[in-house]
């Protein structure tokens, strides 16, 4: 290690962290919220067995899970303009990440909803609730708790996955690292540095997951 490398790392650190906080984090949060909304809707439609819509949901999950994320990004950013749909890079990334992870999370949510005992739904009907009220107040809260570790997985994997937005010119943390590296040629140092920042972000998310699991456990205690 020499003084030049330390200088480069020290200079680049605040820049990378800045892009991480200003771009990578918001990109992750927006994409995850979109994915969460999609997953709940898609899971609900399947749980309620709504005809036609259910088929559309299965088709969506089939296509998204069966094609690479990178290909989906390229299709939207470079493919869609030829049929007149032109989107900026950042919204494209949010949409593609959201719809992509939404398909996986929908399966997580569906499985968790189906694991809620049928008796909970019957009790809901018997005290005069309708289907949506039962979903909102009884089934989804319980399903969300079961799904929480798996959804946390999705969030962590999405945070790292946002680095792929670099390939469609979104200037996020990883692309910033490649830009700096293009000037100084310190691949090991810079990519190591950016990896450590991702690791730090994910460590925070892991801590949040543990905190969240404790919170959610309050009404469950031990499982019986």
């Amino acid at each position: 290690m020499n003084g030049r490398l330390w200088g480069i790392l020290a200079d680049s650190f605040p820049k990378l962290l800045g892009y991480g906080i200003r771009v990578t984090v918001p990109l992750t949060i927006l994409s995850f919220l979109l994915a969460l909304v999609i997953s709940v809707i898609v899971a609900l439609i399947q749980y309620a067995d709504v005809k036609v819509l259910r088929q559309i949901c299965r088709f969506y999950i089939w296509v998204i899970r069966g094609t690479p994320l990178l290909v989906q990004l390229y299709l939207v950013i470079y493919g869609l303009p030829s049929i007149g749909i032109v989107l900026d890079a950042f919204p494209t990334a949010v949409l593609v990440f959201g719809f992509n992870e939404g398909a996986y999370m929908a399966e997580t949510m569906r499985g968790s909803m189906e694991s809620v005992s049928r008796g909970q739904v019957e009790a809901g009907y018997c005290v005069g609730l309708n289907f949506l009220q039962i979903m909102m107040h009884v089934v989804l809260p319980q399903a969300f708790r079961t799904a929480f570790p798996a959804l946390s997985n999705s969030l962590i994997s999405m945070l790292k996955g946002t680095s792929m937005a670099a390939t469609i010119t979104v200037m996020e943390m990883f692309r910033q690292a490649t830009v700096i590296n293009g000037r100084v040629y310190e691949s090991l140092g810079l990519y190591g540095e950016v990896a450590l920042i991702y690791l730090a972000f994910c460590t925070i998310l892991t801590a949040l997951q543990h905190w969240g699991e404790k919170k959610l456990a309050s009404y469950g205690g031990t499982r019986s």
């Binding site: 005992s117 008796g119 909970q120 019957e122 009790a123 809901g124 009907y125 018997c126 005290v127 005069g128 609730l129 309708n130 009220q133 107040h137 009884v138 809260p141 319980q142 708790r145 309050s218 009404y219 469950g220 205690g221 031990t222 499982r223 019986s224």
Partner: protein, 247 residues
């Protein structure tokens, strides 16, 4: 007549579960539905609240006729507002406290304001001796306590009739008494109840009518005093005697 049930039929694939069950219930009746396991008792009760769809049969409840095979959603909702169901495994909402379990139906189903719902709920919980556990979650309660909360949950809705599906079958023996004494109190207060049960003391001493089922059929139905003192059919006599040998 408060409730007339006529000719309920139900099969699961080629297994006949209910083969023409009928029952008349007067206001204030406590009907014990008895019979060996697998005789169709629970399915019969569930059909009355549309938790199962019967293949055919009809029900006249407080002057309104229901087709047990195909009722409209609005009819089912209206019926469920006047009836209540207590489950074998309680089915308390696991993500809600004791108080919320009781108020949820009042606030969302009956559109009662929260303040008032809380008062009704606490009142109902007091009746079953659970008013001191308002903020506990179901998993923090014993089975007997959970079942009492489940009873409070239906009492708060002021139903005209309560269906009990083996309310004590999932309980440890020492917890059965507290639930039965709540049910006995309800009976004394004049609540109309249909109770699927294996508790013969309850059937003998609390219920005034018995419906004895076996293999999807009604073997005998009528006054509970008659049934225990002087069973009409050979099969009923066997059933009553087999119970006597346990006592």
């Amino acid at each position: 007549m408060m409730l007339e049930i006529k000719n309920v039929m139900k099969r699961f694939e080629d297994h006949v579960v209910l083969d023409g069950i009928s029952l008349d219930v007067e206001k204030g009746d406590v009907v014990a539905i008895l019979g060996p396991s697998g005789s169709g008792k629970t399915t019969f009760l569930r059909c009355l609240n549309f938790l199962e769809q019967a293949d055919s049969g009809e029900m006249i409840f407080e002057g309104t006729r229901y087709d047990l095979n195909k009722a409209k959603k609005s009819e089912i909702t209206a019926l469920r507002r006047k009836t209540a169901f207590v489950f074998q495994n309680y089915n308390l909402f696991l993500n809600k406290t004791v108080l919320e379990n009781v108020t949820l139906g009042l606030i969302l189903g009956s559109r009662i304001r929260k303040q008032e719902a809380n008062e009704i709920a606490i009142d109902a919980l007091r009746r079953v001796g659970m008013a001191d556990r308002l903020s506990s979650y179901p998993v923090q309660l014993s089975g007997g306590q959970q079942q009492r909360v489940a009873i409070a949950r239906v009492l708060a809705l002021k139903p005209d009739i309560i269906f009990f599906d083996e309310p004590t079958s999932a309980l440890d023996p020492e917890l059965i008494g507290e639930v039965l004494s709540v049910m006995r109190q309800l009976a004394e207060d004049g609540m109309t109840m249909l109770v699927v049960t294996h508790e013969m003391e309850f059937a003998r001493n609390v219920s005034n009518k018995v419906l004895f089922m076996e293999n999807a059929h009604v073997v005998e139905s009528g006054s509970s005093h008659e049934f225990f003192a002087n069973p009409k059919s050979e099969r009923s006599r066997e059933f009553v005697n087999s119970l006597a040998s346990f006592a």
